[in-house]
């Protein structure tokens, strides 16, 4: 990025340069434009950790993602509100992420049961089995895409488990979610509505199956929404499938990227890798927290103000928008010492990689456990590994910026450890 003292600084989250590597822009925003007004989008953009905490701590339906959590630049330029935006039509029911209280909370709670801490802890054995089976398949190949073929397949398999889909569908699940997010690299943002409909074609049959089976609670993710009543009425299968998009998408792309990128960071720092290896069971959970800070791919989300408010001293009128740059918060020098250094055991007081407040990541316990399992199983199984960055891709992305493919070369025994390793 080059600016002379004469050029005006511009930050456009959808510009190709920003999408290729936003970090230099984030640094300048935090230092000189902590509240940046993107006039063409009528959007205030917040880049500092503390200011984003302040924004996301405002409840009471002040901010609602009624124009999508990831609006397109076309929409932001075409639509303006002079005052509070009109309420969304509620038939069909929009996805919960576009709604405010109380509906957001009701719809979220209808899905929450299998994602609570104790339920998730019960998934550990399955996650380890899936990770080991995957490594058994991949290691004889000698070189493979760590993002998609290891983490990608395990994360998608857990989604299959939660949705009561056959594990054989894991590859389809993974590819469908990747197809959604990859389209944004052309700079037009995401065509959310079209892509959501594509995912609904996979999810809707799973909902129908549960309805036919009587929704007895044995697949709580879906059964909870079948039981849910919106102002007295049940949801249609299509509406239920729409509500499930968030969980379906949420962990399928993020966890594989963090796993692969995190292992890349360790491999580039042999002293840190050695330290982690000294006690994998104790140290991997610590290293995973730094991976979450350093490698989390979600760059930003947006909201629309439905009431006049103030954030970081900036008055915001009802109808205007805000964006909060999680990717910037993760590197905020006001929050983290030497933030652009990967330090596996740095003290992390708080992190925004999972968000904060009403929309705080619903899958956080699944994500943390998957990351711990994926990283620890890999390190236990693979004594030596290196990366081929020339074959790897880190596509420009306005919101999910990370290693889409990361090729690893492994030096490991092809003997399966199967269930022999205990942890």
């Amino acid at each position: 990025m080059q600016t002379s003292s004469v050029e005006r600084f511009e930050y456009d989250p959808f510009s190709k340069e920003v999408m290729s590597n936003p970090l230099p822009w984030y640094k300048k925003l935090r230092a000189e434009y902590p509240v940046y007004f993107a006039e063409k989008y009528d959007t205030f953009i917040f880049s500092r950790f503390e200011d984003i905490v302040e924004l996301l701590s405002q409840g009471d339906n002040i901010f609602i993602a009624s124009e999508q959590t990831l609006p397109s630049p076309e929409h932001l330029m075409a639509v303006r509100h002079e005052g509070p935006p009109p309420p969304l039509p509620m038939d069909p029911l929009p996805r919960s992420s576009n709604l405010g209280s109380p509906w957001y909370e009701q719809l979220r709670h209808a899905q929450l049961k299998p994602l609570r801490p104790r339920s998730v802890a019960g998934l550990e054995e399955l996650m380890r089995r899936l990770a080991r089976e995957r490594l058994d398949e991949l290691i004889p190949q000698g070189e493979f895409d760590l993002t998609q073929e290891y983490g990608g397949m395990v994360a998608a398999s857990i989604i299959c488990h939660l949705f009561d889909l056959d594990f054989a569908r894991a590859r389809d699940v993974r590819d469908a979610v990747n197809a959604l997010t990859i389209t944004d690299q052309e700079g037009g943002g995401l065509d959310i509505e079209t892509l959501v409909e594509q995912l609904v074609t996979i999810i809707k049959p799973a909902v129908e199956k549960r309805r036919q089976a009587g929704a007895d609670g044995s697949v709580p993710l879906i059964d909870g929404l079948i039981d849910y009543r919106f102002e007295g009425r049940p949801l249609t299968e299509h509406e239920i499938a729409m509500q499930l998009i968030c969980v379906f998408v949420g962990g399928t792309e993020t966890v594989p990227k963090i796993t692969a990128h995190g292992l890349l960071e360790l491999s580039e720092r042999p002293d840190q890798l050695q330290a982690v290896r000294e006690d994998i069971d104790a140290n991997v959970p610590v290293a995973v927290e730094e991976m979450i800070r350093f490698c989390a791919p979600a760059q930003w989300f947006a909201r629309t103000a439905h009431k006049d408010t103030v954030v970081a001293g900036q008055p915001i009128r009802a109808g205007q928008r805000v964006m909060f740059l999680f990717g910037s918060a993760a590197r905020d020098e006001r929050e983290f010492d030497r933030p652009d250094r990967f330090i596996w055991n740095r003290k992390i007081e708080r992190v925004l990689s999972f968000g904060l407040g009403q929309h705080h990541c619903i899958g956080l316990h699944v994500a943390r456990l998957e990351l711990r399992v994926l990283v620890s199983e890999f390190l236990k199984r693979v004594p030596e590994f290196s990366f081929d960055l020339s074959r790897s891709t880190r596509l420009p992305s306005s919101f999910q910026w990370g290693w889409n493919s990361l090729f690893v070369k492994v030096n490991a025994t092809t003997e399966s450890t199967g269930g022999g390793e205990t942890s």
Binding site: S57, Q106, R116, P117, G357, L364
Partner: protein, 63 residues
């Protein structure tokens, strides 16, 4: 002082129980139990830590 919970926001993550186990507990279904709603100044620090720690911003202290 009183603990106030926004039960719509509470997801049973349990960050509060880690910061202030004398005030908060999760049951076997990861539902939050507020052990005592009223507390004195000696518990103000852990209560405030719990409020800050809650990722859902579901807790308030009412004076």
């Amino acid at each position: 002082m009183k603990i106030k919970v926004d039960w719509g926001l509470c997801d049973g993550n349990g960050a509060c129980a880690l910061e202030a186990p004398m005030l908060f507990e999760l049951d076997d279904d990861d539902q939050l139990i507020v052990l005592r709603e009223d507390f004195g100044p000696e518990l103000e620090a852990p209560a405030a830590a719990a409020v800050r720690a809650c990722p859902k911003r579901a807790l308030r202290i009412e004076v």
